[in-house]
Symmetry: D2
């Protein structure tokens, strides 16, 4: 439970992998994770993926830029509990001038809890769409080509 | 901003409508709402809809039952800001023995911010699917038949 | 549970009173409210109190101003559960040029759950302390003089 | 930013130290951390401290036990921003049969952001106070005796 790991996770062949703990704050009275908290875990995964590619939110913010989520499709397959250690996987699926489509999974002990497809866009001052820096598009496009993941959405649900 | 309203919202011909304020806690450093917070607002809408139909979480919990989200598809169309007053609309689309498919919208000043389709299931002790009480299924089925809403997902995005 | 109320609460002789529901999101696996959520409820109370005195966060933000919490002392006396309807009371205790000291209580069914003393400051661009507008200081000072509340902190705990 | 660290932090001579990142979710429209989020970081610190002492929330929960916060005094000295890496320090100050008083600090780049004193209690079924296991009381009492920390509350505020 306490083995060393990198705080920003690690780049993999297909994208990025982050380890995070489920704390008290993530649960609700049903005894399991509150469903919206998985979006927090996935956002941490996306942020740390971009971080390891050299993109930092506080630097973007200086120019009035921030990433915004445009679309999400999420299968909630199984619920985690307090103390669980989760793996958040993020992999690019497609990149256009202004948008990134990512596949994300949340796993616990090798079992898939969440499978999602997330579209994010870079937004500039006043909420206007902004073009992704070329270096990021190239890095994501390279990872997207590996295509190592099975389709995540439309999975049969338990 | 302070006109009287019912704390649990109100039943409408097609479902339910709830008024909620955007507070400090709902925003992030981009200056707008943190995307996952919309799921909180939608959950409040679903809870208050069921409440007005006579279903209370704390009563379900006594028998070890709770609602769990199984699938969500969400279009994030426009972002709200602090102090905004939101309208959360919830309408049943389909009901099966164990699942409810709901359409949800979040609006501000007549503009649609969020359009979502949400599948929830009743879960019993040990996470096993539980059958919805007949009275709830009937009430939701009646509302679903009015079919007053246009399709919410797959909307063209700005 | 659904009687009409004003979304921004109401001014009272000693300060402000706001009604809020406990939702799924506010609870944790212990079955009760997650302790930090009470700070959200209290912040909503402070925001709506200022709102009814004519101070709006989004207007302050245009000039780079925002309120920041400087100190809190909180007694957690009793825990609320999902579906509970809470009353959040806010009353000014003292006002200086840059700081407001407020007493806050959270109640449910007439029982006190939380008793807190909160110091907030107005902060300008770059995090520098900013002077409170005179009109606000006057309004708060008038309410502070009524002094209708018993001391909130240092209460015997159950 | 990505050097290896133990996910549950590490025991120190005076208590425990945990490293955590500030993500999008932790901020608000002021551009800094939402004040209540520090309570989440402190709770993670307390949970991981107890974890390394052999106490696990999910095991306590099986017998209907959970920790509850009884009192908090918090100085908010300086605000963190997105992408910051925080150190959360936790040290026992006093232990009685049913309560633990802890000192907690949140630091960033060697600067203290938060200084707090937190009283927690173990609570059993129905919310009744429960006695702390002897092994935990001994471990905490040993750390409390080292007394390596300066007083945290009542610090002069900037």
């Amino acid at each position: 439970m306490s083995e060393p790991h990198a705080i920003a996770g690690r780049l993999t062949e297909t994208g990025h992998e982050l380890t995070q703990r489920v704390y008290f704050e993530d649960t609700d009275f049903s005894g399991r994770i509150y469903h919206a908290r998985y979006l927090h875990f996935m956002e941490r995964g996306r942020s740390d993926y971009l971080r390891l590619l050299g993109v930092h939110h506080h630097e973007l913010a200086r120019d009035g830029h921030a990433f915004a989520v445009r679309h999400m499709a999420i299968d909630f397959l199984k619920a985690a509990s307090v103390d669980d250690v989760l793996t958040i996987r993020t992999a690019p699926k497609a990149i256009t001038g202004a948008r990134i489509i990512l596949r994300q999974q949340v796993l616990c002990d090798g079992e898939m809890l969440i499978a999602a497809e997330v579209t994010v866009a870079l937004v500039g001052p006043g909420g206007r769409p902004a073009r992704l820096p070329q270096a990021i598009r190239d890095a994501l496009a390279r990872a997207a080509k590996t295509g190592g993941w099975p389709a995540l959405c439309g999975l049969p649900q338990p």
